[in-house]
Symmetry: C2
Subunit: 281 residues, 2 copies
């Protein structure tokens, strides 16, 4: 596992200053994606989401060309092996400002790309599923920021600090009305018969790219996708529970608290479908 | 107005990296305070609040001695004039981490002190009061973070972006139940008869040091302080409305939307009382 490297505004020599509004206020957005052979998987979807998230808080997203040039500098030259996999994290902030919440009349976004190793997801998870805990931290509702992957992530941090048991893969997060929203680092689905439910994220949560891919291809598995509101108890009664993100794809949940589910095939089928359809641009 | 200068972990040569969790997640807290002759006003109260806010998110706050040494390096030598006033902002983050919400097993907090000029508050505001707008952005409820001045401040940024009219000094923020909480950069009080009401901040908002000072000295002005829940309509009907923060002290609100209040004496009395009681340690 090599140390992370990064490039700031296209240069290896730039720094973040404490005047950056990303540092001061979490005034920015980010994306995490898998890289293969120095190129991002599903880049069109990730860039589209990056632009939308920037727009949600009034930042003009840097061009895809600039980001591709960053990828080239940070990844391609070192990762000639076309199958080499690692992780890119893009952070876009509103840029620097002196003090005070009002953005300067003219801002120049800060653009950071960070390269890290792909976490060593155990092959076992594909075969045996993963265990979730139920987080006590409740997500707050903020319609203006819901769905957006912004830099205000203290709730995720506090939730993730609730457990240290390495047997627990992720934690389920509810909102303040006790509705299921997501996990700390993944989106969640539950299958009941032929319907595939996933939480409505109009008040909180992050609407991930892989979640959207799953919704798009559900019909291939003869599943009817439905975005709705449901409770933790509904999840416990579901036929099958699945989590997803851009790094590990899809995993079935086989244990949550005292509830267990037998290993089934849906998560692996989605994972394979998504892998087949993914674009390595 | 001179450019901001700063010191990171006690050194003028250190940088913030994009791996700092303050930058990645807003995983940290901050304080803003007035400096006079190179020394902070009301330092004991500010440091106490800094320690409490760090503790709320599980960060061990650096010692007061370290921060005082930062002040000495950043302020004292350059500000020999004992009456010179400027602003110190302290930012404490959880430190660096690779990727993922879980903090590393061992973290070393990042400590930043930034020196900026004191904003040119117009003397007119003491004489004529200030104008507030009503923000459309609603504060979300999060009991675990309420009252804490953490780095997740996108709601304040979005709220502050709602107006550009320089005649408006600050914007009133409500929670999702339409209760008054605070302004974007100040706490709020309303006087009804001899009772001085200020919002309950147990679900959202920042419990500022100056708010606490006002509550502590209210009895001197024969006012009965009361922390409670009230609406925007209650504020419009109040006898007197006041906002406060550590930089400008207290200002009376003389206009909000179509409502106006005649200039009275409470805000100036509080400002004077607080100035008399402030410690320039």
């Amino acid at each position: 596992m090599s140390a992370p490297t990064y490039i700031i505004n296209g240069s290896f020599n730039h720094h973040i200053t404490p005047l950056d509004r990303g540092f001061s206020y979490g005034d920015g957005v980010f994306r995490t994606m898998k890289m293969r052979g120095g190129l991002p998987l599903n880049w069109p979807l990730h860039y589209q989401k990056l632009v939308a998230d920037c727009a949600a808080i009034g930042i003009v997203c840097p061009s895809a060309e600039l980001l591709m040039r960053d990828f080239e500098q940070l990844f391609t030259l070192q990762d000639a092996d076309k199958q080499a996999e690692n992780v890119a994290k893009i952070v876009i902030t509103r840029g620097e400002g002196e003090r005070g919440y009002q953005p300067p009349a003219v801002t120049s976004p800060t653009r950071v790309v960070i390269k890290t190793s792909l976490p060593q997801y155990l092959a076992m998870y594909d075969e045996a599923g993963v265990t979730l805990t139920l987080c006590q931290t409740r997500l707050s509702a903020q319609g203006k920021l819901a769905g957006v992957k912004h830099l205000n992530r203290l709730e995720n941090v506090l939730a993730r600090m609730e457990w240290r048991d390495e047997a627990i893969f992720d934690g389920l997060l509810l909102d303040q009305h006790h509705h299921v929203i997501e996990c700390t680092m993944s989106n969640v689905f539950m299958r009941v018969g032929n319907t595939l439910f996933t939480p409505d994220l109009s008040q909180c949560g992050v609407a991930g790219v892989t979640r959207q891919c799953v919704l798009n291809v559900a019909h291939v598995l003869n599943l009817k996708p439905e975005i709705t509101t449901f409770t933790f108890e509904d999840v416990l009664k579901a036929d099958e529970v699945m989590i997803c993100n851009s790094l590990f794809g899809c995993y079935q949940v086989t244990r949550m608290l005292d509830q267990t589910w037998p290993m089934q095939s849906m998560a692996r089928s989605f994972k394979q479908l998504l892998a087949e359809q993914s674009v390595n641009a």
